[in-house]
Subunit: 326 residues, 2 copies
Amino acid sequence: MAKLAPPEAPQMIGLDWGTSSLRAFLIGNGGEILAERNGRDGIMAVGPDSSDPRADFSRIAQSTIGDWLAEFGQLPVLASGMIGSTQGIAEAGYLDLPTDLGDLGKHLTTVELDTVDLRIVPGLQKTASETNAPDVIRGEETQLLGLLTPELTEQRTVVLPGTHTKWVTCEGTRITDFSTSMSGEIFGLLSTSSILARLAEPTDDFHHEAFDWGVQVGSDDPAALTSSLFSARTWALDGRLLADEVNDYLSGMLIGAEVASQLILNTESSAPVIICGSTSLTQRYSRALNRLGRETVVADPRAAATGLFRIAEHSGLVPIKENAHA
Amino acid sequence: MAKLAPPEAPQMIGLDWGTSSLRAFLIGNGGEILAERNGRDGIMAVGPDSSDPRADFSRIAQSTIGDWLAEFGQLPVLASGMIGSTQGIAEAGYLDLPTDLGDLGKHLTTVELDTVDLRIVPGLQKTASETNAPDVIRGEETQLLGLLTPELTEQRTVVLPGTHTKWVTCEGTRITDFSTSMSGEIFGLLSTSSILARLAEPTDDFHHEAFDWGVQVGSDDPAALTSSLFSARTWALDGRLLADEVNDYLSGMLIGAEVASQLILNTESSAPVIICGSTSLTQRYSRALNRLGRETVVADPRAAATGLFRIAEHSGLVPIKENAHA
């Protein structure tokens, strides 16, 4: 079997193991992705009625990366995401805010599987106060480390859009605050199961004018969101909103209200907002932020792989390269 | 058959014929309700695949009030609600805002059924402007006439809570504005189909402390609603919100954000807000408004019957009594 020559020599395996998906990365000694696999075996693939969850997760790991382990010898395997929750293979704990992501590598949890030791990254938690609800993230901390560098000392806002979009405030790799918005899940419910769904015709096209119109309505008065949403129905009945535009109008309104509300909270910095997510959602959040006067930077959506490599460096699982990030 | 003596002599039949229900009132010559029937034969009972919708609606009317018509002779029959829409028996049109509800009786639509002429009340419509979406109501105009009197010349706000809650601004019986909030439908979706539903245990009890907490969170920053909603999950995971309290916390937050946003819009008057709806929703809106510093008046939920009687008077279907409202 042909061996790969440095610098492409595989150095570790990274797993971004979430609720509904498992992404595996074969990572080289400079942190570069040598191979990538995307599967649907998120932690939901092992149900609460499993008699031996650890064995089930072990089998999934073996079928996903067993050939890499066999081909390249015993590589370190590092995982982030919901695999480290009570519904996953083991509770990997949390670091309390404020915290520096450089500390993640010092708090790994090790689970011995049949064929390999699995190291798991802790999440981050915000404890409750008089005015703020508690909140946790798990998986996003690794993405954040992958896209942030200590040199970014100015306060920055990072958006990780999804079903539950995370808004994170940081200075360099130090995380000071985050919050979760349900606008993605609410969009899903309204566009499939509400009275608004009856007038909408889903399409794969992006109707940017309808989206921008929604952003304007949502951001003009974010407090009136539950009223403004009904205008998707009345404009559609009126004929000025076409059936295939309803969902983009709705998406724009929800994202517009969310972005406007978050920008009110984050006025201390005017630095570009960093966005990391799927192409479609990144485009939408970037467009809404730009329309509301904020510049954006779109980060590499494979930041999780970079984050896993950095955590492996910090923890000593792989040697630190001289030019590596601290 | 025993005849009723005046003033209890039946004078008319009123139908509050909505999307999912049909309420029939036998009304005396002073406007009093002599008998009432509540059925589920809303306009949805006649589907779009009916070969003869008019005949189907006629049969429903006959089975609901046929015995009253037979017993008391040919009484005028007046209906309000979605029966007057394109999905109903005939499109009964709209009056444009601003309008006086005293004019409703001049614009009835007559549909000849097999056994009786059915008169239908028009709805109200707000036409679109640069900044406002169009909106319509159908059925609520009759409730409003039933609970308002011309003597209330000060600007008043009326709330008609439901799946789609209506907020109406009026001076006496003159309607100047209204808007629709989807908070009721959003509550239904979130409490049954979202990630929040997994931690909630529905109960029939009203957990007023959880509701009040939600009102506070929702009204403190209504613009942040899509973020604040997630706190129902994090407080429940934290243990400070019990499973049987989650839905009331959620209900309080949605109503709190809606009420706070509406009070910002309606600052011209400090008169008590009038609420007309089901006991449970009336209690919730009243509690939220009171906590936010506004007095409330709870109107008779059978205002539709009173409104139908007044419209019958205005249109000449029944004689106007000397002491009747104009």
